[in-house]
Symmetry: C2
Subunit: 415 residues, 2 copies
Amino acid sequence: MGIIVQKFGGTSMGRWDRMDTDRLLQSAERVAKTKAQGHDVLVVVSAMAGLTNLLLELAGRVNPEGEPREFDTLASTGEQISIGLMALALQRLGYPSISFTGAQIGMKTDAAFTKARIQSIDTDRIRKAFRHGKIVVVAGFQGVTDEGDITTLGRGGSDTSAVAIAAALKADVCEIYTDVRGVYTADPRVVPRAKMLERISYEEMLELASLGSKVLQTRSVEFAMNYKVPVCVLSSFEEVPGTLVTEEAEDMERVMVRGVTSIPEAKVSLVGVPDKPGVAAKIFGDIAARNINVDMIIQNVGSDDHNDISFTVSRSDLKAVIAIANDLVKEIHAQKVQSDDKVVKVSAVGVGMRSHSGVAGKMFSALANKGINIQLISTSEIKISCIIAEEYAELAVRALAEEFELENESKELEQ
Amino acid sequence: MGIIVQKFGGTSMGRWDRMDTDRLLQSAERVAKTKAQGHDVLVVVSAMAGLTNLLLELAGRVNPEGEPREFDTLASTGEQISIGLMALALQRLGYPSISFTGAQIGMKTDAAFTKARIQSIDTDRIRKAFRHGKIVVVAGFQGVTDEGDITTLGRGGSDTSAVAIAAALKADVCEIYTDVRGVYTADPRVVPRAKMLERISYEEMLELASLGSKVLQTRSVEFAMNYKVPVCVLSSFEEVPGTLVTEEAEDMERVMVRGVTSIPEAKVSLVGVPDKPGVAAKIFGDIAARNINVDMIIQNVGSDDHNDISFTVSRSDLKAVIAIANDLVKEIHAQKVQSDDKVVKVSAVGVGMRSHSGVAGKMFSALANKGINIQLISTSEIKISCIIAEEYAELAVRALAEEFELENESKELEQ
């Protein structure tokens, strides 16, 4: 008998606008079943589907430029509603249970409101509740500063809450219940015969999460990897095994590519940049100073001591980057700024790349065979990414899924 | 320049189902105006109109029999949403402001969930925010136990929060903004020419609140009286002076009756009760043991050593009282139980009764002149109450308003 952390996302809590409580009761039954097996169970819940957006819309209507502290006070209520409801649902099923906000279990974070980072968790109250035989229900997505201010962890933060609590409790497993069955080799909406993975390594999952897979939030995977928390991604609607995210095992390397993803990006080019030392440092220094992450960079050596420098950023940063680039062009006497917000990054990920050579070549020719032009390339030890035109995104993912044998034999995905 | 506490109720915060933010911004402007006059301002807010009911409905759907602790965790989110929105609205108007939940300002209560009582308030964080020139926004209706559990103070609890904070801060005044202009001599829907009172004593207000006036919650008036907090009831929609609730002044006694009220009650009669010592004690002991308050009691001495005992309770307790009474009738060998849930208590209240004699006689004859039968009577130093049939409620209030000159000369109430 161990400690099991179970996290339920918004869709598993029901839709707010419909005041739907069926999904919640269904999720509660799942929790109760685990408790009935004799485990200590801690449940982390998200806000009901649609509620967080509604709250942020309301706040935005009142004052879109207000202090982030107040947005967090407001947004954190969605999860507080969920903990109350989940505890009540479990009590209805006959299981003693108690709810805690982030503050109540001492989920300490820094004061970076709307995107706070967890610093420590005080497990005393949780362990005390366990000793009293209670199921513990904790609000995801939220924490509290040393001063007692309420913080939120950013979108998808409930995954991080769950994994962090699992780490603090040294839980046997952190189960993430979601509206999909597990982690797939590719987005099943794009590749209908995409395989569901039984196991995946932390590193692969981390790459997939940051490259477009929405199943788990990137920071939650980092946490799981750092604290070696076994994470299981499961469907909250069907009782099927799901995907275990765990440490790399030797047999994992037999597979060359574990998954393919695509994620929207935007490309910015500075054309006719004088070929002088320090210019690139100036460009990317100015962008970094605005807290904007640059993803891929390429420099084309041109004629007349002038180069073109292209890089990609997330689309939400494009407007700010163009403004910075326009200022820079004047300052460094470059020719002009070009931008393209219709590009995507397609990636192939797998720890098998460490031992298999030729993955990049296979990827490039698979794309070339479909007539897809590669604009930028970047690689790491376990992934290869290419920037291509957005219109080819789905075609590219399907081509790579076929090339790297990421599909099931059977014609139809059973679902 | 002093400290001013302002409390805004649900209607002053806007309707949740319409995502209405106009009312909120209007209330924020009122706060800002007070701050601009140089005062330290603390705002206590209720949940948006309709939200608390929605939350409790949701909870009731999941589990109406769940632990009250979880209902409080849930219900307290309504006010938490309001503090975030009010702080954002004030910031939009250019006024630095900061929100606090009950827990964040150490609003300590006992652990009587859903009807907790305030024990102490830690004003350090509030005073620190004042020193930084900030408007402080506090969630009404909620507190926290020593263990850190969230509690709520019961319906209308935001009034109590506001008065308690005003007491702790030794505020110059606690302004209660509401959807009426102030305290009236009678319900203006019943008596269209009812006068608005400029001043009323704590004791009178306490009687009026417990006898049916819904303007202020009874406990908030008790608090104000005990700590001598001047309370002002004002309209949040019109800039008119309102009613000051304050200590009794000598000139207040010149008025015989300050106000008249009516409140629904239910009457229970035990018929044919054996005339033996200890029977009444048994009856009311059993009822009190179930935490039910009995209001008025009358015993008619009958023939054959048998009496009839009648008493009134609030209508919501009637079902439980009938069950107790039926058990009692068997146990004490009484004849039967009769009940009537169509009675009201009409009352006349005024500190002037201390010095004016003959108020009761005037009241009884005013009712008799309209052919209204008085079923039970109770009096205290500053009030007289009569139980009458519900169908005469409005007629009785109008007759008493006329008798005690509680109406304006002008024909129409200006509004």
